[in-house]
Symmetry: C2
Subunit: 425 residues, 2 copies
Amino acid sequence: MSFDAVDVIRTKRDGGVLSAEQIDWAVDAYTRGAIAEEQMASLAMAILLRGMTRPEVARWTDAMIRSGERMDWSELSSPTTDKHSTGGVGDKITLPLAPLVAACGAAVPQLSGRGLGHTGGTLDKLESIPGWRASLSNEEMLEVLRTAGAVVCAAGTGLAPADRKLYALRDVTGTVESIPLIASSIMSKKIAEGTGALVLDVKVGSGAFMKNASDARELARTMVDLGTDHGVRTVALLTAMDTPLGRAVGNAVEVAESVEVLSGGGPADVVELAVALAREMLIGAGLTDAKDPAEALRDGSAMDAWRRMITAQGGDPDAALPIPRESHEVKAPETGFLSRLDAYGVGVAAWRLGAGRARKEDTVSYAAGVTLHAKPGDEVREGQPLLTLHADETDRFERALEALEGAYEIGGKPDPQPLIIDRIA
Amino acid sequence: MSFDAVDVIRTKRDGGVLSAEQIDWAVDAYTRGAIAEEQMASLAMAILLRGMTRPEVARWTDAMIRSGERMDWSELSSPTTDKHSTGGVGDKITLPLAPLVAACGAAVPQLSGRGLGHTGGTLDKLESIPGWRASLSNEEMLEVLRTAGAVVCAAGTGLAPADRKLYALRDVTGTVESIPLIASSIMSKKIAEGTGALVLDVKVGSGAFMKNASDARELARTMVDLGTDHGVRTVALLTAMDTPLGRAVGNAVEVAESVEVLSGGGPADVVELAVALAREMLIGAGLTDAKDPAEALRDGSAMDAWRRMITAQGGDPDAALPIPRESHEVKAPETGFLSRLDAYGVGVAAWRLGAGRARKEDTVSYAAGVTLHAKPGDEVREGQPLLTLHADETDRFERALEALEGAYEIGGKPDPQPLIIDRIA
């Protein structure tokens, strides 16, 4: 069936509901180039401002999945399960989590992305390990899954090509912040990836895409529905992103922190979240009798899986990580409790230090980033180091420090905030 | 000053007011190509759905005027005055009007357009006159104005190039129907055209762009304000467009009807509107003691001005007009009064017969169109001709007849409706 692009745009513009046929046609025509970029931009803005019904989002997601291949892991002997985070500052959770879940008996076929803006990208972090390769063929993915039980790599161009094209368009047309478009973008890739179960880590707070819990809950609910409708056992955790996760924000520094966690140590919040997500992933995979993830961190089996995974993708788990050439310490201006350390400010600082990219074609510095010497609730003394900034050039510090202005406060002891806010199934 | 396109889009998307600097930058950057088509499409949809304040529309219009040249007719000894119609079916008014006003002593420098969709274009109509040229240089325009007192020609590429680009974009992105964008598009061209006074004929009804009087009034008010703010004496008439104007819809048939009017005859509604608009144009030009336009139709001076105008643009006012090869009569299905004859249905029929174009690059048939043998309120007898369809090929008739299904009704005598609904100054 064929439609007129302007009619489809007008339907949504005037507050109407797009038919299944209109959606199928629009997504397919856009992928083929029969709907021009400017027409899809106008439609995306109309969707952002007018919204979509649940059946519309489901069909839109479905059309994006059908624009490419849907991967199939039925040859594997283990059930598949995966996690997706909506993005946060210091969110290295995938790094310890994928091998941790593999160590407990499930297979993790994770297609991941690169960072854009103030949140980092999992692939950028892993690429700081010498030799590690993000691009694998489907056959190589299967081989790594068989060898290591987990694989984290870049999505190939055959997966949801409609989403790939639309995501790049939304990025430059102010149409990113739409719950139906965010949900369908994430879920089309995760469903096409072929995982049997999925845990969504929906971040809420200053450093997250969703600044308030009600938007985050709506996004989580939309994605859980989409997964469930497509036969993927899906659950979402709403987790706090007002302050960075862990004590490292950047690329190599986050790898180092992940290795600490896999060695049985590491910051409490990273361990808590990794274990909670791992348990959900195992439940989703139907492995209710599996080894407990906390045990897998203690007994070294998660670390063994990590080493197998990194090695299978060409990396050397024992190689030295890139070391920053320059560093700058931010000291506590007075004595008291660190009452606030803003995730967004730290994220922007790390980005400006070189850890992130402003445009897709930019390169990142693996050594750049921020190390936190205190977390909210910690007591600090005047003059003690609060943060260390790492960069390849000293001229990066000035603008990073500007991003940190007003991003931390010393004062009274803050009330402890829960890391895991809600669970949506 | 430079801005980020996504920030500008987000401001409007989130219901904010664009600053003068943002508007100046956006219009200029788009004209230069520094804002991509997809970004402007997204912004246009946000403007359509969020609206613009009066200062925003004024600045947007101003920026579009400043994107090109502003013409200057101060060398002429007569005051300048012009008319713009928002477009209707059978709306050939410019053809008799421009020479009529010239005959009464004002100069009419009209830049006009071609038809797109179900409403015809003044240039397409005039081009059915053998030899007549729509494209003139500024020097040629001045020369025709001096010789004939009126000129009707195509706008050059130097005039409001931002609007030219934006209009083409809006046409394919479902962003035409925005009062701020319509008003700024029309007024930027008319103000850049350099006329000292302007009368707007804002059409209301089934065959018009504005289907109801309140939208039409808002558009008229916005345009009158824009003209006034830019020093152009501007007034608007709201006029009915539920049934075609006159008895001819097409190209050559409308030229023939215009010549009838200039000979002192022609349909009453065309004469009424032409005279009313001419009086307003003369008042705008400050010529309160001028000859009355009704007199100029009777005494042949308007016809003389027409002949001078057509001749000065290379046309032969005595040449035979193109004659349709094929025709088809629609007969009255019963006896009674013609209670309704829908402008939109007739407009679409004429378009499908070949008089209009679906895409800018299409050519039009000069001979194609519709002749009306009865107007609403006329008594008709079963079997008498109601409409004659004209086309170059017989295979055009079927789809034209489909457009006419339900477009006319025979019944009781309808209440007479006023042609001129309101005046906004």
